[in-house]
Point group: C2
Chain length 325, copies 2
């Protein structure tokens, strides 16, 4: 199947990388809002301007939209769902119902599939919350993120006056993880679940105390957390914090038996060297499912909850049963 | 929906227990090959003889078949798939293709769904092997079982002359787990992955050395493992080994990036106080999906790979998206 990538940042490159691992996929092209001549595509595939998409409806089976959730995806995913099967990684949890509804309408009008909010959270973590809650109703679900780089929090620090560059790590609190894994079902505040560690490169002559104060008191991003700030040199940042590792765990505890005497702990965890490359890999697998669902006559918005797992695999169903069941 | 349970041992009781946790399900009856008058159903539901099933086609939406994989299920699941939607936990991996084919033919002839090999392995573990392999093709999948009681191995010990009762624990080798979690992709022999620990109650006057020798040299079951045997009293067995805990992990490592520089580790793990109650809980959730798929006009054999996750939840799709995505 022919995959198009719209938006060529870290995530777009992650999708490109995943396509190269799947023999049944080929990269039809990379589409950008920049000047295509300025975009060097790692695999050597062609870069097009986003406006060229209008003339390429028959050359793309699934378009993977790699934009930001704040402003890009709410506009782009419905727009392209009319003419293409699309998939995105929309992750603003509170706005998912609205986004789903917009994509559903557009996708149905063009008889396409629009799969939204795909990746690892939302995505694989969401699946694990659903499977666990369905098997053991009434239990407790906990999601921990990290240790990993939060790009949104890193960006928030970069916007502070006097900050040249920054990297923020989200870290689960070990004691909280331990209690949850023991099935103790603790009630945990935001502060008790995660800490935040920031590595900041300050501009020459900047007021470091003011920067630190601006970070730790920043509402939504840091004020509800125990946050530590380290000032480092630009060389140290590039040397020690160049990667984008991430991960985390969904831990679910539920009870069964007369008097709920038996406790069961289900844990799904990820340790990822590269957040965008893993997310891109999830998108590629779901692009295969999107292609198949549309071939099968389906249209409208979908999420990972609607996709039968066998649709993700290049293998024949009998081979999947024989080798993985 | 109305659920019937065929076979009322540990697993049947686990399913009964799970039905009580799901408000949209009711137990239509327990069906047994024994004299129904001799069967005391925990929840107070009625026990019937298995022959009564023939007259109850309209009173059961899904029949959960709780029999053994060696001889019961290969015969029973196809037999009942003609007249009922059925689900089983068939776990003889090598015979799954044949069982699937038999159930498929029977289920199609009666326009029912027959979902086979459901539980945690095969079942939830299989799903995690499939999801991981689909997202990160070409990686390495490892499955570890335990620490937990293997009922098949416990039974094998009980068949040895001079053994009154026994309990066998399967235990993952900690060093192997550690290497796999580190993404080292070790090649592991059977012996390097798991050890086996046996607690045996010997008959009075039995030859303990002979029993121990018979255990550790038993082909398929123990000869390929490092096995330890402890002789204990019947009181100790009942006091310390009454439960049926189990669990384990599916750990998958895959690589991405130019030159495969980035490693990702996906782990799904279960710590279960009661193996049959957890397995029964998985069967109940999939019984809901079976009911819905058949209502939707589908028929034939299915496995967990064919079931869209949303079908497992009692919640409305919009509520699932709002609360779990």
């Amino acid at each position: 199947m022919k995959i198009g990538i719209l938006g060529y940042g870290n995530l777009g490159k992650g999708v490109e990388c995943a396509i190269s691992k799947n023999d049944d996929m080929e990269l039809a092209g990379v589409f950008t809002r920049r000047d295509p001549a300025s975009v060097k595509v790692v695999s050597g595939a062609k870069a097009y301007h986003v406006d060229d998409l209008a003339g390429m409806k028959d050359e793309i089976d699934v378009l993977v939209i790699c934009g930001g959730s704040a402003t890009d995806l709410p506009e782009m995913t419905p727009k392209y769902a009319r003419d293409f099967n699309v998939i995105d990684s929309f992750d603003t949890h509170a706005r998912i119902p609205e986004h789903f509804s917009n994509v559903d309408e557009a996708a149905k009008s063009g008889s396409h599939i629009g799969l939204i909010s795909c990746g690892w959270d939302p995505g694989m973590f969401s699946l694990n919350r659903l499977y666990a809650e369905s098997v053991l109703p009434g239990g407790n679900a906990y999601t921990f993120w990290g240790r990993g780089v939060s790009q949104g929090h890193s960006d928030a620090i970069r916007r502070i006056d006097g900050v040249k560059d920054a990297r923020q790590y989200t870290i689960p609190v070990p004691e909280a993880l331990k209690k949850v894994r023991n099935g103790e079902n603790p009630e945990l505040t935001t502060r008790q679940k995660h800490t935040r560690e920031c590595f900041v490169v300050a501009e020459d002559g900047a007021d470091r105390a003011a920067i630190e104060q601006a970070i730790v008191t920043m509402p939504n991003y840091f004020s509800d957390y125990d946050t530590t700030v380290h000032f480092i040199s630009e060389e140290e940042l590039l040397r020690d914090h160049a990667g984008l590792p991430h991960g985390g765990s969904v831990i679910y505890t539920g009870k069964t038996g007369e008097g709920d005497v038996n406790t069961h702990v289900i844990e799904y965890s990820l340790k990822l060297d590269s957040n965008p490359e893993f997310t891109g890999s999830v998108l590629a697998a779901y692009a295969r499912a999107v292609y198949r669902m549309n071939k099968n006559g389906e249209c409208g918005a979908r999420t990972v909850f609607d996709v039968a797992p066998a649709l993700l695999s290049p293998l024949d169903p009998a081979d999947i049963r024989r080798t993985m069941l």
